[in-house]
């Protein structure tokens, strides 16, 4: 359980954040650059002092102006993985990893984390000799070995290219699933959040704009200015129902519908999230026939998001809300309006591994080729 209510004046920019949420799994803190994400996380970690308010984690007050409490960062037991690796340059990887470990910490834990992160072969090296991805893995290991109750991650992938991101993401997924470590994950990249997070906290102009499940918040029209138009899409919560190896497809079920995607290397009954980008969804008024698109669902239009651009986003309820991005021209020729029945079409191959996020993970979902 985390309970935050803090205020701070940062010279022209004001943080006034109030949020209460449980600390299971991965909580994503999402917002544009300059929205106050890092400031808020620094306050939680104790590196920045709020002007007023309180921070309580698992019933332990870490900061409370009313009661005069301000626990030093070293006593908060919060791990922090920064945007830059912040490894100590004058120490070996081994010494970095052990820096925060409690005296007499069991070696079993060390071995487990080192193996989980795949950094055993790096132990004797110096940070300067590591690649960006390796550095960030060591930084994660170092934070973990300090035995924190929760780990804060401030855009840990921001400085990495996409290949390096793929190297790290599975590890972060495993921290949560294998080690049960609660994580507050700061990001402005929706694809990372879909993949990792169970819960989303939206921050905008220093204030908490919304808290909820990833599925719920990404489909809300009023939050679109924050969740981003280009990134627009919807998130479905589905279960693996069976694999059609002959055709190379996996069938996922959601709300008594079947969604077909390229074959996934996942066990049956695995729950996962699928992200469907609005631009991969099209609309028809009659049930389409003789087409290549595998996923066709009947539904009802619930909302239309017009902002004057040639594109329009239409929200269709097919048992779950799905955003479709179509041209304004199509909107008027098809005469679409809320309440109208329509068919939603989604290409199976639009669902790549970047679109998937596990819910009860025990390995990373990936498209088997």
């Amino acid at each position: 359980m985390i309970d935050i209510d803090v205020q701070k004046d940062l010279g022209g920019f004001r943080i006034d954040a109030k949020v209460t949420t449980d600390t299971n799994g991965v909580i994503a803190l999402f917002g544009r650059s300059g929205s106050g994400k890092t400031s808020l996380v620094n306050m939680i970690a104790g590196l920045t002092r709020p002007d007023s308010g309180r921070i309580v984690i698992d019933n332990e007050p870490l900061f409370d102006t009313a009661r005069g409490i301000d626990v030093a960062p070293e006593h908060r037991r919060l791990g922090y993985v920064f945007q830059e690796d912040r490894l100590f340059p004058h120490m070996s990887v081994m010494a970095n990893l052990r820096y925060g470990a409690p005296r007499g910490a069991p070696g079993v834990q060390f071995d487990r984390i080192v193996d989980l992160l795949g950094i055993r072969h790096l132990l004797k090296r110096r940070p300067v000799t590591l690649s960006g991805g390796e550095k960030q893995r060591v930084a994660i290991g170092r934070a973990l070995l300090a035995d924190p109750r929760l780990i804060l991650m401030d855009e840990p992938l921001a400085s990495l290219d996409s290949a390096r991101k793929d190297e790290i993401l599975p590890f972060i997924e495993e921290l949560s699933s294998e080690l049960g470590m609660p994580i507050i994950y700061v990001s402005h990249a929706m694809d990372e959040i879909i993949r990792l997070a169970d819960k989303l906290v939206l921050i905008s102009d220093g204030e908490i704009a919304a808290v909820g499940s990833v599925e719920e918040l990404t489909s809300r029209l009023d939050l679109r200015p924050m969740t981003g138009r280009y990134e627009a899409g919807s998130v479905l919560h589905a279960t693996v129902s069976h694999h059609n190896v002959e055709h190379g497809l996996t069938h996922l079920s959601f709300n008594n519908n079947t969604f077909r995607v390229p074959l996934l290397d996942l066990p049956k009954d695995r729950e996962l999230r699928i992200r469907i980008r609005a631009r991969d969804v099209s609309i028809a008024l009659t049930a389409p026939q003789d087409i290549s698109i595998l996923n066709v669902f009947p539904g009802t239009i619930t909302e239309i998001d017009e902002d004057g651009s040639p594109q329009v986003d239409v929200l269709i309820d097919i048992g779950a809300p799905i955003w479709a991005r179509i041209s304004r021209h199509s909107l008027s020729t098809l005469n679409l309006h809320p309440g109208k029945k329509a068919y939603v079409m989604i290409k199976a191959i639009a669902i790549g591994r970047y679109s998937l996020g596990g819910l009860t993970r025990s390995g990373m979902p990936s498209n088997a080729q």
Binding site: A45, G46, L47, A72, P73, E74, H75, R76, R77, L78, G79, Y80, F82, E84, R86, F88, P89, H90, Y99, G100, P102, R125, R126, P127, V128, T129, R142, A143, A146
Partner: protein
């Protein structure tokens, strides 16, 4: 010793003693001053900064004279020290060490301050989140990362102390075996008829000592570099 005359040996050993002691005395104060200037914001910082740099710009004779006024047996500090500890400072090697320390102080502070300003405070913050107290962070992160600057500061201060002349001769005079360091001995010989050979020998000794100090510092700097993995 090493073919040196008794006179030369005395001057050399005294010089080394004075320089080493002055550097050791300087170190904690230099570190504190560097911290004050690099990490703290307070009213009057500019004035404090100027005060620390004063020995660098004021004629050494002036510094020596002020020290004499302060630390003389009847001076405010000298009288107090003598009354409480029975130690007299003026006209002793201790006074020479103080003069050298004061003159070397600005050089040491400058080097340390620069290196401290270059220590990434984000690393210190990271160490705090890993459970390290301020003191542990200072000892395990700040100090090791400052090491090259501390080394430069120590070498500069040592060289300055070894070469100190004006403040020393004004403050503690030129007493063979007590306050006559290498530069003072050289000065005396240069004033003496037929002293040229002796003066040249002392000049050579000074050069050799300085060179040895430089070589040791280079070697230490390389070791620090290697420990930080700069060249694997």
């Amino acid at each position: 010793m090493l073919g040196l005359t008794e006179y030369e040996t005395a001057a050399l050993l005294l010089s080394l003693k004075v320089a080493v002691v002055s550097v050791l005395v300087c170190l904690p104060f230099g570190l504190g001053a560097a911290w004050l200037l690099a990490r703290m914001e307070f009213f009057g910082k500019v004035a404090i900064d100027a005060l620390f740099h004063l020995p660098l710009v004021v004629p050494p004779v002036v510094v020596g004279y002020l020290l004499l006024v302060l630390f003389g047996r009847s001076g405010p500090l000298g009288g107090w020290v003598f009354d409480h500890f029975g130690i007299s400072i003026a006209f002793t090697w201790k006074g020479a060490a103080i003069a050298a320390a004061v003159m070397a102080f600005p050089l040491m502070v400058r080097a340390m301050r620069l290196s401290l300003e270059n220590v990434d405070q984000r690393l210190e913050a990271a160490a705090r989140t890993l459970g390290a107290s301020r003191l542990r962070v200072f000892g395990t992160i700040t100090l090791p990362l400052m090491a090259p600057g501390i080394l430069v500061g120590v070498i500069l201060a040592f060289a300055r102390a070894l070469g100190e002349f004006g403040a020393t001769i004004t403050f503690v005079s030129n007493i063979p075996g007590e306050t006559q360091t290498l530069p003072l001995a050289l000065y005396s010989l240069a004033q003496t008829p037929d002293g040229e050979t002796g003066a040249m020998r002392l000049a050579l000794i000074s050069i050799v000592v300085a060179l040895i100090a430089l070589i040791i510092s280079e070697w230490l700097a390389k070791r620090i570099d290697r420990r930080r993995g700069a060249n694997r």
